[in-house]
Symmetry: C2
């Protein structure tokens, strides 16, 4: 495994690999790696002969007042984990390497970026799209791996890759969960013991909604969301930001549950923001 | 020379060329080819072993009320010209091929896109950047050729390529002019005989300004622009939209003329809009 810090070095490494006929898999991360990230890396390792993982806490996807400064950074622990997964290249650039002083180009999927997370984190997906385009152009992978945990991010990136004709395939991978159902997230380390005990209610809410649909008790999304909201509200200490049932392509509300409907939610537990979703 | 209409076909052709070690040069155009375009093609032909020219009148870079519908289209004449230049591939996609119904991703360089042309054509450079990113991802050239005639476009695309880390080199080529100095443009065919006679005044103005600087008569841009404006105003029938001296990297006004200063102007002759510029 090779740790590289500059764009030029990654390009050279990938070029060499391509030259010898390798298929390049890419897993972009912000580090603070957990089982969710590692599942993406394992998938890339299975499907590709050359695996690049980037570790870059991207400032442009954090809003003012968000957790950019305190976002967990633990490069050496991350490298140990990636070494075990037999990754070829870890790309860990500095902020200056990625964003020279005069950079100003932005990439956006406006239609998909103003709802759900986008409503609570204006500019977030512009930052995500921009850095992902940069990373795609730097690494030029054949396959890029993203988790369903960040469903809206995955959907936006798929749309962006289609719209901008990137010559690569985006692979969405299932959410990895703790034993009690909480979705693996780098932000889970922010949770106090009490908050951590409360956090699984988010996924329990989604599972309850799923069960109601499977039992054919509810098909109208309006009623389904109301039931979910009522369940969630019973647990004090969780503050609901949104709970919506949307079309997983357009992210627009749909009247009835059917295959392709995404139920996505965000809650705050104290200052910690958690998101989760299920796809029908 | 091969005419291809689908993205998949271009990709296959370029892949084959790459496989046999070719260097790919790309000239994006909107067709209605003139000597300006052909100078870009010749340059690409000189520097690259595989030349792709695209012909696509990009709807997203035209504003409402602009000339998208009447923009000159003459594919078979264009093909004859390109055949003579020994181009390998002409990519002439339909609008549907380039913009499927649900496309919505946009690419922008906001800081550079609101001044000069951008002020008079809101959204224009967003359309340009978006289609150029698409074309870059489709063709994946090593070199892409643009004319200095559209100086702001060239400057924006250079910035975009830097910012988004596209693995290619943008080559800016000198403006090609008619014998009387009028910059070659597909829109020149709109000019009536009287308008055509008047049109060279735009370049004469720029040359006069250049001469004043060379004679060290003027170094302050404020005075230089005033002198240019006065000269231009003497010719009735030309309506000045802007005449500015800016830094050619930031497109921001500069107090004094020095190397790297761009003097850019737009005029209307009747309904026809003409642009031109000189770079110190």
């Amino acid at each position: 495994m090779k740790l590289v810090k500059t764009i030029q070095e990654v390009r050279e490494e990938v070029k060499k690999a391509r030259g010898s006929g390798k298929v390049v898999g890419f897993v972009p991360t912000m580090g603070a790696l957990h089982q969710g990230h590692l599942s993406l890396v394992k998938r890339a390792r299975n499907e590709c002969s050359f695996v690049v993982v980037s570790i870059f806490v991207n400032p442009t996807q954090f809003g003012p007042g968000e957790d950019f400064a305190r976002y967990p950074r633990q490069l050496s622990a991350d490298l140990t984990l990636l070494e075990k997964e037999r990754v070829e290249i870890v790309f860990a650039p500095s902020t200056e390497e990625m964003y020279p002083a005069d950079s100003s180009t932005v990439v956006e999927v406006p239609k998909l970026s103003k709802v759900l997370e986008g409503k609570f984190r204006p500019g977030h997906f512009r930052g995500v799209c921009t850095v992902v385009v940069k990373l795609f152009n730097i690494v030029q992978p054949d396959f890029a791996y993203f988790g369903w945990k960040d469903a809206q991010q995955l959907i936006i990136i798929k749309q962006m890759v289609r719209d901008l004709n990137f010559p690569l395939t985006v692979v969405g991978c299932p959410t990895v969960r703790e034993a009690d159902g909480l979705a693996a997230s780098s932000r889970n380390v922010y949770l106090s013991e009490r908050q951590r005990a409360l956090a699984p209610v988010l996924y329990q809410t989604l599972k309850l909604m799923e069960a109601m649909v499977k039992a054919k008790k509810i098909t109208e999304t309006r009623k389904l969301v109301r039931a979910g909201r009522q369940f969630l509200m019973r647990h004090s200490g969780l503050q609901l930001q949104y709970l919506k049932a949307v079309d997983s392509r357009t992210l627009q509300p749909v009247p009835r549950v059917k295959p392709g409907v995404l139920v996505a939610a965000a809650v705050k537990v104290g200052r910690v923001r958690l998101i989760d979703n299920i796809l029908f």
